[in-house]
Structures are given as structure tokens and as C-alpha cells.
């Protein structure tokens, strides 16, 4: 398995999702506030969510949040080469695991990205449909805040995930491609991403009313 993007996926997705625990369903901010008064306005929270969404849907993140039996790679999000499959634990299959190529760190001399525990996000954390279309901002937000899908993460756990998870951190330091050029980065820095996540969580993890 190779190239670009699966890292962040699983874990970050999970975290994010968790953040929304407090609520349950559809729309905007309200629920988180029911457990703990939101310290940030819902408008600010929704704006922050859009920033978070811009990162989650970047290839460095979403390539491993697929709804299919395989990861994607590259900025064009093509199907992962080499007949790589998801496997029962999202780590490939015996003889062709993620670790068959992806090591604990980026291998810039050979162009293979790496980080601790490289794996595909579970299907409950898919951020695409089965035709590889990225979920809308509303749908992804709702999925991410559904504790039955996000690994039962609450807001603080999602924030922690975005701050510490190795695969999330990898997305912001994705290393070099085989031709020596740098892999593209998410639209925010890691610090900005964490800050936006915090603002969104403080606002009660609001989700957009419209797709």
C-alpha cells in the first residue's frame, strides 16, 4: 500500500465525531448547550465547523474515510493501488497489511507516507458515499457528532484526538512523494485546526441546517 493519504482519517474522524456527543441529531448547536452552556455563539461555532470541514474533506484526511472496501490515495483520490483492501480491522489483510509499506514515519527517500498505527477509518466513520462523493457539511457534521458512529467520543475527546492522534498530526506533516515534491497540506495549519475545533465544541458542536 502506498502513497498519500490515509493517515488522519480514522482517528481524527473519530475524535471529531465524538465531540458532538452531547447532541444527537440534526441541526445546529443546541444540544451541547443543554449539558454545558455554550461559551461561544452558534454563528461562531458554525463558522468554525466550516473550517474543520475544510480539513476533514482534504485528501490527506478523507482518503482513508471511505465507504468502500479500499482506501484512496493522491490529491485526485484515486483508488489505492496494488489491490489494497480494507480487511477486517481496517489494516489490510495478512500478507498485504498497511504495514506492508507504511512504517512508523514518513519514508521520504522512497515516497511512502507513514505514522504510528497506519489504518483505514472504520466504515462507521465514512465521510464519503459508496460512489466516493464527499458528504455534505451537514451530513458529515451529523455523522461526526453521532456517538454511535464516532467511537463514543464527546467534545473534549474529539478535541484531544485532533490535538494528539498521530494520524491527525501526520496529515499536517505528510512528507514527500516519490518524485521528491511535498504532499499537499490541508487548508489550515494544525494549530488553526485545533483552534477551530475548540471553537466549534465550545459552541456546542453546531451543524449546518443546510447541506
Amino acid at each position: 500500500m502506498v502513497p498519500s493519504g490515509r493517515a488522519f482519517r480514522g482517528s481524527s474522524a473519530v475524535l471529531i465525531v465524538i465531540a458532538c456527543l452531547a447532541w444527537s441529531t440534526s441541526l445546529s448547536h443546541a444540544q451541547g448547550a443543554s449539558q454545558k452552556p455554550a461559551s461561544t455563539t452558534s454563528e461562531a461555532g458554525l463558522a468554525a465547523w466550516q473550517q474543520v470541514y475544510s480539513v476533514l474533506t482534504h485528501p490527506r484526511c478523507i482518503n482513508c474515510h471511505t465507504a468502500t472496501n479500499h482506501p484512496e490515495q493522491g490529491d485526485d483520490r484515486h483508488r489505492h493501488l496494488f489491490n489494497v483492501v480494507r480487511g477486517p480491522e481496517g489494516k489490510g489483510v495478512p500478507g498485504l497489511n498497511c504495514a506492508t509499506c507504511h512504517q512508523s514515519a514518513n519514508a521520504d527517500s522512497t515516497g511512502v507516507p507513514g505514522a504510528h498505527n497506519w489504518h483505514l477509518a472504520p466504515l462507521s466513520m465514512k465521510w464519503q458515499d459508496t460512489s466516493d462523493n464527499i458528504l455534505s457539511s451537514k451530513a458529515l457534521c451529523q455523522s461526526l457528532t453521532d456517538r454511535s458512529k464516532n467511537g463514543s467520543l464527546d467534545g473534549p475527546a474529539i478535541l484531544h484526538h485532533h490535538q494528539q492522534e498521530p494520524l491527525v498530526l501526520w496529515a499536517f506533516q505528510p512528507g514527500r512523494r516519490r518524485d521528491g515534491t511535498a504532499r499537499s497540506l490541508p487548508p489550515l495549519t494544525h494549530e488553526e485546526f485545533v483552534s477551530a475545533t475548540k471553537t466549534w465544541i465550545d459552541a456546542g458542536t453546531p451543524c449546518p441546517q443546510n447541506p
Binding site: 502506498v2 489483510v93 498485504l96 504495514a99 506492508t100 519514508a107
Partner: protein
Amino acid sequence: MQTYKLTVNGQTREVSVDPGTPLLWVLREDLKMTGTKYGCGISACGACTVHLAGVATRSCVVPVSLVGDRPIVTIEGIGEDRVGRAVQDAWVSEDVVQCGYCQSGQIMSAVALLKSRQKPSDEDIEESMGGNICRCGTYVRIRKAIKTAAQQLA
């Protein structure tokens, strides 16, 4: 250049190489263990497969600096393992090999599969061996040999 101590087939070997050097070239050029083959250099064909701490690994894309203290087993050493021996015997009895270039990697992946699946299905074999390409098209015999080895190990 940096010096690394590697455990290869149970023996400690010391090499002084650039940290970015792929393990494949350390094995072939520095240790003169040429059983592991260079096919594509981008992990696309599987000819360079070795075991790193028991995990089938494409040695052409793993810099020696990332090997750490994980033991390495190559095609030269896999016959010392019970499963490895059974796979090699099955490869012979089923006359799998044609040109043979990819077969080191095929065997290493097959051993990894059989260590996890005692009785692999056709689907298991297709998924696990899907990253090992054979230009001679020996896939049918490879599948048969894996099943033969599984029966011998049962």
C-alpha cells in the same frame, strides 16, 4: 553514512549505509543476499517482500533507518520456519515456478497468509496475494500450492 545492526535470519549483521537506503538494497548490495528481488521499486509488484517482525513488508520502500530492532526474515531463511518449509515444499510439489523472478516475494506473502489463516479461502488468497504480481501468470498454481501447504500444516 550511518551504522545499523540488523537481525537477518537470526544473525546480527552490521552495515554502514545512508539512512534512506531501502532495506532491499542493504540486503542485496551490502549483505549479498540476492534471493530477495528488485521488481518495481515502488512496492507495486511484491517481488521484494521480506518479513519484518513477522509482517510481510516491501523492502524496496522501507528505508533501513525505519527497520529498528525488528527481526528480518528473507527467502534465504524462511525455510527454517515450519510454515515456510511447508510452503516451499508445496511450491516444489505443485511445480509453481515458471521464470521464478517473483517467487521469493510470492512465498514470503504466502507464509504470512498461512500464519494468520490456517485454512484460507480462495477470497483470502486473492486478497492477501493481490499485491504480488507474476508476469508468467502462475496464479492458479500459486493458489493450489497455498492450499496444499495448508493441508500439510493442518
